[in-house]
Amino acid sequence: MLGLLGSAGVVAALIGSVLLVIRGIGLARGGEGDLRRPAKLVLAGAVVSMAAMQIALLTDDFSLAYVANHHATTTPFPFDVATAWAALEGSIILWGLVLAVFTWVVARRPADRLGAAALAVMGGVGIFFFGLMLTVANPFEVCVDALTTGCAASSPWPFAAVDTPVEGPGPNPLLQNHFLMAVHPPVLYIGYVGLTVPFAYAIGALALGVPGPEWLRRSHRATLVAWSFLTLGILLGGWWAYEVLSWGGYWAWDPVENASLMPWLAATAFIHSGLVQQRRGMLQAWNFVLVISAFALTILGTFLTRSGTINSVHSFTQSAIGPALLGFLVLVLAGSFTLFAMRSHLVASSPRIETFVSREGTFLVNNLLLTIYAFIVLIGTTYPLLLEAFTGSQVGVGEPFFNRLAVPLSFMLLLTMGFGPVTPWRGAPAGLLWRRLRGPAIVALATGLVVALTVTRVAWVILAIVLGVWVAAAIVGLLIELAGKRSAKSGSSVYTEAKTVIRNDQPFWAGQVSHIGVALVAVGIAFAANLPLHAEVELAPGDSVEFAGYTLTYQAPFRREEPNRLVQGVRVQVGQGDRVLTTLEPRANFYDNEMGGIITPAVMSRPGGDLYLTMRDLDSETVLLGLDTSPMIWLLWLGGLVTAAGGFWSLAARRRERVLPEPRVMADV
């Protein structure tokens, strides 16, 4: 029944997408038509299919093969809801739903030719994803051959004779071990799918031959939404890895992490270069290249991690989805760049850049660095594949390679971030940069000196602190300078004037908030990566050990039955001096559908950093504990949040802007 409902939703969304393409093309060619109805149909269909899946999960309807194979009656909230995107087929429903929402939002404003063309492209993307749901990744197949737990065979035909199992194996234990896994995929998907909007506008603009900044203006908000959520999604992914994967790290340059980083880098470059085109009319062609790349990288990332061609922590499984995604990727890249080549005479024109010592000049450097960054991640992730395909020999590319290239590149980016905001458009008058930056340089170096003398002299940490403070001080210095000038004229306080300065150009200052967030992330990473302590101890109950200034006492092992799992762990009391701080429970969680236990760390967070305990081995007498510290790791989480917050603020600021009466922007091109 729910299978039928879900499939009907998918079919409706598919029909809506087809209508969008047909009518969108018609409208873009100057015809008549309405695009809101098909967009609503897509949305309604996607909502129905997701609702059907959720109802099936919440009511333990094992007649659906997806539910039978990825859900169990014992799966607790919120993991039963999150199971909808815990495996391949379900995650495509989520993808489709997010795409439908974006499509509907784009269709809400009356469609002119550019909007119609963009919606046609979005409809095309929709056809692909809803098509996947009806073919190679059908989440609504009904179970026709039940096992004791799970389903052996399924049929896409909703009226097939159903054989309902009484119980399922439950979702992958790693994915039901922490609530973050319930939140991380939707957030990340909003980021991924959001990039479809600027891509669609870009292709629409190319097809219509209107490469001007209109498509950038129209898609700017969607780009910001995508970028902010992508930032948040990457952050949540790192946090999840830290809390669940029990090695004390948050980033391993794993293919799936790289898959989310590459579009982020491309989107970051695009946000900057888009500004250059809007302000100066330059980089027209480059913006098309970037936005196509960003979209293609989301598809490539999905392909790499979901097709089974690369081994990764997150690969769901190997299936026919691989060829489908690869085909779509080729279609996107080859189609887009063919169109780009056909319109090259239109996109080539641009005014001359007067000097590289200008805002646009710093944006060029930033774009070069970000592009190289994305390229390094791309080549590092795909090189083993390519080499094996060409020569048959196998190599591994991992953390040491990426760190060696990405770390210096990140520092170069931080350095540029100090220059960018204080450099005016078109060119800086002589001496301006020196006047604006000598202060930040002194503050940054002084902070570095203080830290070197009191905390640590590790080179990477000092460098990160100096450059992080440099970025922040340049921004604060600029704000004080601008506010000071106004205050000298008006007589009101610098603080009041600073608020006015910010209010007058909120998107700019929102961007600076993101910059400060990135600086915080850099400092957090430098601390956590360079100054951790590690030890491994074997303790009997009652034993104590000193570690990193804490006294750890092994109290007793414990064992706890929970509905969906068995928890086995040890209680460790953490004290400092005479004070008892807390009791930690490093443990292993045993799920029915997994042979061994999932080792789950226990973390105590304090201002100086985290204490991170893992239970390595437990027998009747002793426990083997892994002890780690992650100094200042909260800076990393905070920095990530601040970065995303900057994006959201910029978004909100733009919305408020629109409320103000402004000259109507050219509606038709």
């Binding site: 390229f375 020569t391 196998q394």
Partner: protein
């Protein structure tokens, strides 16, 4: 303070602080944890993407112990890494060297940087409005059609190519590691079913089909095994042993499942027609006769005939002997 004096002071302060900082940082007594360093360069073979230094798995810890032992005995980093690569191959090295077939990996980013700088400089030199006329509309449409056709061809080619490569793949148990003990073989079966269904016409699939059927058979699931055995038995490209196994199993299932002794014997006789010496066929035939009919004499004859074969495996021989004794004693079959 004049502007000039301020500048001089600022520059002095900046330079002095930078020099002191550099001095502080560069004179720090560096303690290099060689074990962790080497560990971070080796991928844990039983994990996915993690290094042995990061992985909490027992295997990674054992490998770290080995590394620690080698380090303390004075072995150089490269020798230790080479030792591990010698048994696990270069695929476990996370830190590709800037030489040999990973040289390109290191050159590519540098080349991209140089190319980027060249493009930017070239772009600055050649800005300006482009005077090129757009191509006439008719031609443009022709191009669009040709481009579209090429795209469709490429797309189709890739799909066909991909589908073909899929066909050659060995049976893969999708997500098998995610499931518990009891279900694991079932999930493998499901995958095998899927692979078989997708490659119905591939002659090479017969072997897999038979293997799957055998699994069902051993699990007592005759219903699932039956169509596969039938397919194998009738398939033109099945080898003789494959066809014999399939026929004999079909025979046994006809007897054991449905009690049809005659059908069973007929099927097994078909197998014997392919190879009159097939021990499997002879043995099952004897069992069917013994268990399924009153003709114990025939069964005894058949067992004796089998025992006459010189190349019986020892355990088969002892099994037949015990069966024969039981049949002679007039016992019904177990």
């Amino acid at each position: 303070m004049s502007d000039r004096a301020r500048n001089i002071v600022s520059i002095t302060v900046i330079v002095v602080m930078a020099v002191v900082l550099f001095f502080l940082v560069s004179t720090r007594p560096a303690t290099v944890d060689r074990v962790a360093e080497i560990g971070s360069r080796i991928k844990c073979p039983v994990c996915q993407g993690e290094s042995i230094a990061n992985s909490p798995s027992q295997m990674a810890e054992d490998m770290m112990d080995l590394v620690a032992e080698r380090v303390s005995s004075g072995t150089s980093d490269e020798v230790i890494v080479d030792e591990l690569l010698g048994s696990y191959s270069g695929a476990v090295l996370l830190d590709p060297p800037a030489s040999g077939n990973t040289l390109a990996l290191w050159i590519a980013p540098v080349a991209a940087l140089v190319l980027g700088v060249i493009v930017i400089l070239w772009w600055r030199r050649h800005p300006g409005q482009d005077v090129e006329e757009p191509p006439p509309p008719g031609r443009s449409r022709a191009r669009l059609i040709i481009g579209g056709a090429v795209l469709v061809l490429v797309f189709a080619g890739i799909v066909v190519f991909a589908a073909n490569s899929l066909q050659d793949r060995p049976a893969v148990a999708a997500g098998a590691a995610d499931l518990g003990e009891e279900d694991l073989s079932d999930v493998s079966n499901e995958t095998m079913e899927a692979v078989i269904a997708a490659n119905e016409d591939d002659p090479q699939i017969v072997g897999m089909r038979l293997a799957l059927a055998e699994r069902y058979f051993e699990a007592g699931d005759y219903r699932s095994a039956f169509p596969h055995y039938l397919e194998v038995a009738e398939h033109p490209s099945a080898t003789d042993p494959e066809a014999i196994t399939a026929l004999v199993r079909l025979g046994w299932m006809a007897f054991d499942g449905n009690g049809e002794v005659e059908t069973a014997v007929r099927l097994i006789d078909q197998a014997l027609a392919i190879d009159p010496g097939s021990q499997l066929a002879l043995y099952v035939r004897a069992r069917v006769l013994w268990c399924g009919s009153a003709e114990t004499e025939q069964a005894i004859d058949a067992f004796e005939g089998l025992l006459a074969q010189p190349d019986l495996a020892p355990e088969t021989r002892s099994q037949i002997e015990s069966d024969l004794d039981a049949a002679r004693a007039g016992e019904s079959c177990p």
